[in-house]
């Protein structure tokens, strides 16, 4: 099997190498190739533009880009049924888009706008789309494994044929929830594929510096979860491996650990000076760019012409343009919505005021949307700082961008926001 060839190649050279992939899978039909390439290109263009929007301070907080991991994302999600569930990490713009969440609502979420897919509450790290069973990006490393196990328990409990794919990074395999979830999923025979996206770094710590066992596909064997590995830079290999893992999880009720060996071309987040890896290493992996290599094959095998590729790329950029425009035109959430969706209102919580203690004025009997004078004034006073901070941030990032473009050996301003825990 071709996948095994890829696996054994990885094993013989160890992790962190960037040599060519193993034996090739044959190409699927033209429509499938079109869909796969279009999604990968869209995700790439989306991420590039998100990076630009971050530099313009349109996006706040942390921004984790998945550039380089597109084959892993698209290859795996293409193997899922529409009724399957997906849970991901905080590096999940690509996953949401791959599952069909409109890029414009993803961009609006990054902009913190009311039309964002989490209504501006979650931001880049917490995208969500219930309709498409994309059950979230999660900001806590390893936090989503128990959740995915629970979703899989629901599939088993209700006797459905649905399965769950749970994605996390190499860093998450060191969390306690990794072992706990593997054990429980295997014990209860749950239909879940745990997919470790091994992009070689837990934030800035290289795989061999954070995990004693670097063949991550082996890390769950002791818990009764068989592992396999695929070439995360080859969309067809990822697709084939995920299809097989999902089949075993769904039909045999045997949870799987699938490792996709990949690489993120950008830093951990936008605030990453990348002092932990060499430019040569990045360059070496970039030569295996999953989009370029798949495109090349399509042209070499005469399924697509260069013009077809160009056309696809134009379409991707048009979609991203539209997304940015949509996000820009979407308003910020109303200040009086600050308490919305904190609780599900009903018999026990009749309104947000029944649990708020910030305002000394009585709330009982008010309608939910009417925050009352004091809470509204407090929110107004706080929100007034948003404009000030944004202007300062724009200046700071512009300065940083100028320095970087000026080829100055990256003197990275110390920014308290650069200190970040976790990693994948």
């Amino acid at each position: 099997m071709a996948r095994e060839a890829a696996v054994s190649k990885e094993k013989s050279t160890g992790n962190g190498t960037a040599d060519g992939a193993g034996a090739q899978h044959s190409l699927p039909d033209k429509d499938t190739c079109h869909a796969v390439l279009a999604k990968m290109m869209l995700i790439r263009r989306f991420e590039e533009r998100a990076g630009e929007m971050y530099a313009k301070a349109k996006i706040g907080g942390f921004l984790h880009l998945c550039i380089g991991e597109e084959a892993t994302i698209v290859g795996s999600t293409q193997a899922m049924r529409d009724t399957d569930y997906l849970l991901s990490t905080y590096r999940e713009h690509g996953q949401a888009i791959a599952r069909g969440t409109p890029p414009k609502t993803v961009m609006a979420e990054l902009f913190g706008r009311v039309d964002g897919c989490s209504k501006g509450r979650g931001g880049s790290m917490h995208l969500f789309d219930m309709e498409r069973r994309f059950l979230g990006g999660y900001g806590i490393v390893g936090g989503n494994l128990p959740l995915a196990t629970g979703v899989a328990l629901q599939c088993e409990y209700n006797g459905t044929e649905d399965a769950v794919v749970c994605m996390f990074g190499d860093g998450a395999t060191n969390q306690g929830t990794f072992g706990e979830s593997m054990n429980m999923a295997a014990l209860w025979k749950l239909p879940v594929v745990f997919m470790v996206i091994n992009n070689q770094f837990g934030m800035g710590t290289a795989l061999e510096r954070h995990s004693a066992v670097t063949d991550l596909s082996k890390k769950a064997e002791g818990y009764g979860v068989p592992g396999s590995r695929c070439d995360g830079m080859d969309v067809l290999d990822v697709h084939s491996a995920t299809t097989e893992a999902l089949r075993k999880a769904r039909e045999d009720r045997q949870p799987q650990l699938l490792e996709a060996v990949t690489y993120r071309f950008r830093g951990h987040s936008m605030a990453d000076p990348e002092e932990y890896r060499s430019k040569d290493e990045v360059e070496e992996w970039r030569r295996r760019d999953p989009i370029a290599s798949f495109s090349k094959r399509l042209v070499d095998e005469e399924m697509f012409s260069e013009e077809d590729l160009e056309k696809l790329d134009q379409e991707a950029m048009a979609t991203v343009d539209e997304a940015v425009q949509f996000a820009d035109n979407s308003p910020f959430p109303d200040l009086d919505s600050l308490y919305d969706n904190l609780y599900v209102l009903g018999e026990q919580v009749r309104g947000w005021w029944s649990v708020d203690e910030r305002s000394p004025e009585p709330h009982r009997g008010e309608r939910e949307r009417e925050a009352g004078r004091v809470p509204h004034e407090l929110a107004e006073a706080g929100a007034a700082y948003a404009g000030v901070a944004e202007a300062q941030e724009r200046k700071r990032r512009q300065r940083q961008a100028d320095e970087e473009h000026g080829e100055g050996e990256g003197e990275h301003a110390a920014d308290p926001r650069d200190v970040e825990g976790g990693g994948d």
């Binding site: 806590i140 995915a148 629970g150 979703v151 629901q154 706990e180 609780y343 000394p360």
Partner: protein, 324 residues
């Protein structure tokens, strides 16, 4: 009926009423529960609905959160409130945040039950009272029932509600008897009980301390001719502040009794709320009676010295009248 039997009845009724309800936790099935709250349920409902779990608190709660998001109504038992500390990530970062941070798309109808409290010489890792820790977190509901009737009514309400509920029981209370209404339905969160009416001082007792406060009030009446009004909030989120404020406006004095630690405790919070909203009515500072500021010691005399008893409540109330 004993408090633990009332809880068992609530679980049984909710398991019967709704196929989506299931319970899971460490040793709740074959072993029948560390405190026998789940006795007989495995036999009656089978291992799909009553699930023994490995010892993995964070993941047990997380599996509850995930299955709740996907449409089930899990009730998770943690063996003691101290063990809930292993699950704080799933409780605070996930259960409490998910409905809000995903813009209301997902609900987490999860109940996490756990006992707290000292008095059984279980030492510094099995005896604490940590309700203040959960009270702190927006997105959670917090129940602290002190009677068998409340235990049953509030647990039924918790299971039927669509929000994540931290349901705090008490090891001492499990064996206590109380009247439980036949065919009683769910109770409402956010409705305090006035356990005893009085006009001289308001005593608010949390969890087991509601019982201690009531006993202290009897002594105050018999030995000191003081009529204390005893209020059991029953739930801390939402909190029935109105009933407490109305009482304070009548008595002009307030004492809050809790078993937990003093700093950042329930009493600290309540004292702030009372002084913010009823300052003009107070004839004395709001007083607190709390557990000692130490990990719970094992040795019996030390342990008894480390949490409040009637005597402490009586003295705290009397102190409010000293300067008159």
């Amino acid at each position: 009926m004993r408090y633990r039997e009332a809880l068992n009845q609530a679980l049984r009724e909710e398991l019967e009423a709704d196929e989506r309800v299931f319970i899971m936790g460490e040793d709740i099935g074959v072993f029948q529960g560390a405190f026998k709250v789940t006795a007989g349920l495995l036999e009656e409902f089978g291992d799909k609905r009553v699930r023994d779990t490995p010892i993995s608190e964070n993941t047990i709660v997380g599996v509850g959160v995930g299955s709740a998001m996907a449409g089930l109504r899990p009730v998770v038992e943690l063996m003691t409130i101290n063990f809930a500390l292993l699950a704080l990530d799933q409780i605070v970062n996930h259960a409490a945040a998910i409905h809000y941070m995903f813009g209301g798309q997902a609900k987490v109808p999860l109940v996490v039950r756990m006992p707290q409290g000292g008095g059984h010489q279980l030492g510094p890792t099995h005896s604490h009272s940590l309700e203040a820790m959960f009270l702190h977190v927006p997105g959670l509901l917090v129940a602290v029932p002190s009677t068998a009737a409340d235990a049953k009514g509030l647990l039924k309400a918790a299971i039927q509600d669509d929000n994540p509920v931290i349901f705090i029981e008490h090891e001492y209370l499990y064996g206590q008897r109380g009247e439980v209404p036949e065919n009683g339905g769910p109770m409402r969160f956010g409705e305090a009980a006035v356990r005893r009416e009085g006009s001289d001082v308001t005593v608010v007792g949390i969890s087991r301390m509601a019982v201690t406060a009531e006993r202290a009030a009897e002594r105050l009446a018999h030995e000191h001719e003081l009529e204390a009004e005893v209020i059991d909030p029953r739930t801390l989120r939402p909190l029935d502040l109105d009933t407490i404020l109305e009482s304070v406006k009548k008595t002009n004095r307030a004492v809050i009794v809790e078993e937990g630690w003093p700093h950042g405790g329930v009493g600290a919070n309540l004292a702030a709320l009372i002084q913010e909203q009823a300052f003009d009515y107070l004839d004395a500072p709001v007083a607190r009676v709390t557990g000692a500021d130490v990990p719970m010691p094992y040795s019996k005399p030390l342990e008894q010295a480390a949490f409040p008893h009637e005597e402490h409540v009586v003295q705290a109330c009397l102190a409010l009248f000293k300067d008159l």
